[in-house]
């Protein structure tokens, strides 16, 4: 596969050009702002679930933590859409950086961790006096670490790329 031709083609598409080169604040600036807000919702709601599992705010019943899922889903959707737009704008910059794949892997693992935390949650309607299994607590700790690493990986992408556009290949 001719990657240079592929990246050149993507970067020449109207959407890519608009996101990258438009003077409008609604283009690149709004998209990165949305990406930060979506992150706050997705990661923040996940942190809330992890903290509860770890034993903080113990009077929140474990069984109502699924109320946080819509917040996570909205954050994830906002970031999937804004993330794809950013990838369209700078495909060479992202896809030639190994850290980008690390970031996606960390997010995938964090989502798997969140899912398995919920699946293992003791179905307890009472104000959870029942101790949380230590395995579940370990998963919550792992989840916090994975999200922190994903966030850091995202920030470091801006400082670790080798090629900005297909032109540099």
């Amino acid at each position: 596969m001719d990657w240079k031709a592929f990246f050149t083609g993507v970067e020449a598409s109207w959407l890519s050009v608009w996101v990258r080169e438009s003077e409008s604040l609604l283009a690149f600036p709004a998209i990165i702002a949305l990406h930060a807000i979506g992150m706050g919702l997705l990661v923040g709601a996940n942190i809330a679930m992890d903290l509860r599992v770890l034993g903080f705010a113990p009077r929140i019943p474990l069984s109502v933590l699924d109320a946080l899922f819509p917040v996570m889903a909205i954050g994830f959707s906002v970031n999937a859409v804004s993330g794809v737009l950013l990838l369209l704008a700078y495909p060479t910059k992202a896809l030639t950086n190994p850290l980008f794949y690390a970031k996606l892997t960390l997010i995938a693992l964090a989502l798997v961790a969140a899912r398995s935390i919920w699946k293992r949650m003791p179905g307890n309607q009472e104000a959870a006096q029942e101790p949380v299994p230590s395995k579940l607590k370990m998963l919550a700790g792992l989840s916090l670490g994975l999200w922190a690493a994903a966030v850091a990986a995202g920030r470091f992408l801006a400082y670790t790329y080798t090629y900005l556009s297909a032109y540099d290949l």
Partner: protein, 173 residues
């Protein structure tokens, strides 16, 4: 030249943090990573409480959810510290930056709102369990908080597009 900026630059230029941020190539991204983790803590935790005040997520008991607020405050602390590292490194890029100034305005708005909330409305909601609806003034406090912190994030991300000298706001000059 602006005396505020002059004073800041003279004061900061010999500080350890100013040198670290400008000379170590990883200092800036590390500080930014902390800033974004703090953002997630603050916006995530406080935002959930705001949503609950407004009337969403009613299955979550309000009083119990409030026990997570200190983690949001921790996020605020992390971001105050990491934010100061950016300011110390390049005061000229922030002091006159319109987006940074509006960001500070939103932070002030959030600060006034949270003070008014704890003085006037918190007493009405602090015992509330799940399913209960907050009174109007507490709901307004939640909406104002969510709007202010969203404004803070948006302005924070826009700082880089409003850099001096192309952009220059100085109401005290």
């Amino acid at each position: 030249m602006d005396p505020v900026l002059e004073f800041l630059e003279a004061w900061l230029k010999d500080t350890y943090i100013h040198h670290l941020m400008n000379e170590n190539r990883w200092a800036w991204p590390v500080s930014e990573s902390l800033h974004f983790m703090g953002l997630s803590l603050l916006f995530g935790i406080v935002g959930l409480y705001d949503l609950r005040l407004i009337g969403f997520l009613k299955r979550l008991p309000m009083a119990a959810l409030h026990r997570l607020i200190p983690w949001g405050v921790l996020g605020y602390g992390i971001n105050l510290m990491s934010g100061l590292t950016f300011l110390s490194a390049r005061p000229d890029q922030y002091i006159h930056n319109p987006s940074f100034q509006v960001k500070l305005l939103f932070m002030t708005g959030a600060g006034i709102n949270v003070t008014v909330f704890y003085l006037m409305s918190y007493g009405l909601v602090k015992e509330m369990g799940s399913g209960m609806e907050a009174p109007v003034r507490a709901r307004i406090a939640g909406a104002v908080s969510l709007a202010c912190w969203t404004g803070v994030i948006v302005c924070g991300r826009l700082i880089t597009f409003f850099r001096p000298p192309a952009f220059y706001w100085c109401f005290w000059c």
